[in-house]
């Protein structure tokens, strides 16, 4: 397995720890990281991203508190056996917020609704199907 893509965008105004947190959650949700997979150590990740190790530790701590990651003493940090899933209401809220951002971008670029939906479906295939494939391969 190739190492997970954990790039951050220095131009993104979101705090870096938040970007790492979101990114790990997405990788878990999309199946790029599966239960029990190792994530890079705090120091490795800090060197890779050229950021303060304290920032990585903060993101990992939040993910561990949320039950997404677990630390095994002397072994490293791993995706938890059963990473939590958002409740129905929470999921709907997050989806709506993201959909509003996407719809606004599409409108601003002058895209039609059909075109926007087609591209959403394509993106879905790109991320979602990878998850299915990996599950099948297990």
């Amino acid at each position: 397995m190739s190492p997970p893509d954990l790039r951050i965008d220095p131009r993104d105004p979101l705090p870096i720890w938040r970007q790492i947190e979101d990114r790990v959650r997405l990788l878990v949700a999309s199946g790029a990281l599966l239960a029990g997979d190792a994530v890079p150590s705090v120091r490795e990740m800090a060197k890779e991203l050229l950021i303060n190790p304290a920032t990585v530790a903060k993101a990992y701590q939040r993910l561990a508190d949320a039950g997404v990651l677990e630390v095994r003493r002397g072994e490293g940090t791993f995706v938890a056996q059963e990473p939590p899933v958002l409740g129905e209401r929470g999921r709907e809220r997050e989806l709506l917020a993201a959909a509003q951002r996407y719809a606004a971008t599409a409108l601003a670029l002058g895209a039609s609704r059909t075109e926007a939906e087609r591209i959403l479906a394509a993106a879905w295939r790109g991320i979602g199907d990878g998850k299915e494939r990996r599950r099948a391969a297990e």
């Binding site: 105004p13 979101l14 303060n52 190790p53 304290a54 530790a57 903060k58 938890a80």
Partner: protein, 327 residues
């Protein structure tokens, strides 16, 4: 996850994080109180106070000529302040400067190695002053920089010179590392190499870093705390996370009353765009406000990066406005 592992991660976080460290450590690394520096009638620094705790990466930011260099000179015992006190490791920075400088290493904008001196000889010279000099660490760092120790300093590229300066500073095993805009004038690749070497030592042992820089993106990647100097005063001094949580760019309908925005916080900038009015606001301390409410009122609330915050805080032409921003 077990209680024990949770604690372990928390330990990692707090060891490097400023706040926990400041609560645990009684002695801050740097303590500046009521610092006044005057050249003739001009007050360059006026009643500046700041504290840097062990393990912190403190970025001191401000426009050119705002007194950053004066502050560093006072801190390093190179200049006696008109009044006010600076303590390093709990001792007076001016009176005990000779003893204190053994615990501090500085990387200036241009490293102070004569151009005709070979790198290896510069290292021997520094090692003669610093008994704890780490020859292996120095060798590894200059090798990563692609520097042959037999080369004369003046033959190296600007980026390599800075990396050698940094390697000399780090090999001295300082407790406080002062980086005085070391990446100024370097290209993106060289800035990246410098950043990589700094990240390498963060979280190591007990190193505290004070840096000034024009590379705000780099600052954002490593700083734990940020101070803004404007008009001779330290107008803001916050952990980076809190700083970013306290500034928002709001987009409201043109002609809409700005009372709504003013309710959210102090308006620092305001301008009319073709399709909206844009306001930059500084919010009160956490708890005073929730971003959700702002969105509900038909405003769009955008996070700001450090560069945008810097411009909003430090750009006002009249220094008095900057001074009012104090949290």
């Amino acid at each position: 996850m077990t209680e024990a592992t949770s604690h372990r991660l928390r330990d990692v976080t707090s060891a490097a994080s400023s706040r926990a460290a400041s609560e645990a450590a009684p002695e801050p690394v740097v303590k500046i109180r009521h610092l006044l520096v005057r050249y003739g009638q001009q007050r360059v620094l006026d009643d500046v106070g700041l504290t840097i705790s062990a393990g912190e990466v403190y970025a001191l930011l401000g426009r050119n000529g705002v007194g950053k260099t004066s502050l560093l000179r006072c801190l390093l015992g190179q200049q006696k302040p008109v009044s006010g006190g600076i303590e390093l490791f709990g001792r007076d920075a001016w009176r005990e400067r000779t003893a204190l400088m053994a615990r501090v290493a500085v990387v200036p904008e241009r490293p102070e190695v004569p151009p005709e001196v070979p790198v290896a000889r510069a290292a021997r010279f520094v090692a003669s002053l610093r008994p704890a000099f780490d020859h292996d660490g120095f060798g590894a760092r200059i090798e990563r920089a692609g520097v042959d120790p037999r080369r004369r300093f003046g033959e190296l590229s600007r980026g390599q010179q800075t990396l050698v300066g940094l390697a000399l500073a780090l090999a001295s095993r300082p407790e406080l590392l002062v980086l005085d805009d070391p990446t100024l004038g370097l290209d993106a690749a060289a800035r990246r190499e410098v950043l990589r070497e700094v990240v390498e030592v963060l979280g190591d042992e007990k190193l505290t870093v004070l840096l000034t820089s024009h590379d705000l993106r780099g600052v954002e990647q490593i700083a734990t705390r940020v101070g803004f100097l404007a008009g001779g005063r330290l107008v803001l001094d916050l952990p980076l996370d809190e700083l970013k949580a306290r500034f928002r760019r709001l987009l409201v309908q043109r002609g809409a009353p700005s009372a709504l925005a003013a309710q959210a916080g102090r308006v620092l900038q305001e301008r009319e765009l073709a399709w909206a009015r844009e306001l930059v606001v500084q919010l009160g301390p956490p708890g005073d406000f929730s971003g959700g409410e702002l969105d509900a009122d038909g405003m769009e609330s955008l996070e700001m990066d450090l560069e945008e915050i810097f411009l909003a805080v430090c750009e006002p032409a009249d220094s008095k406005r900057g001074a009012e921003v104090a949290s």
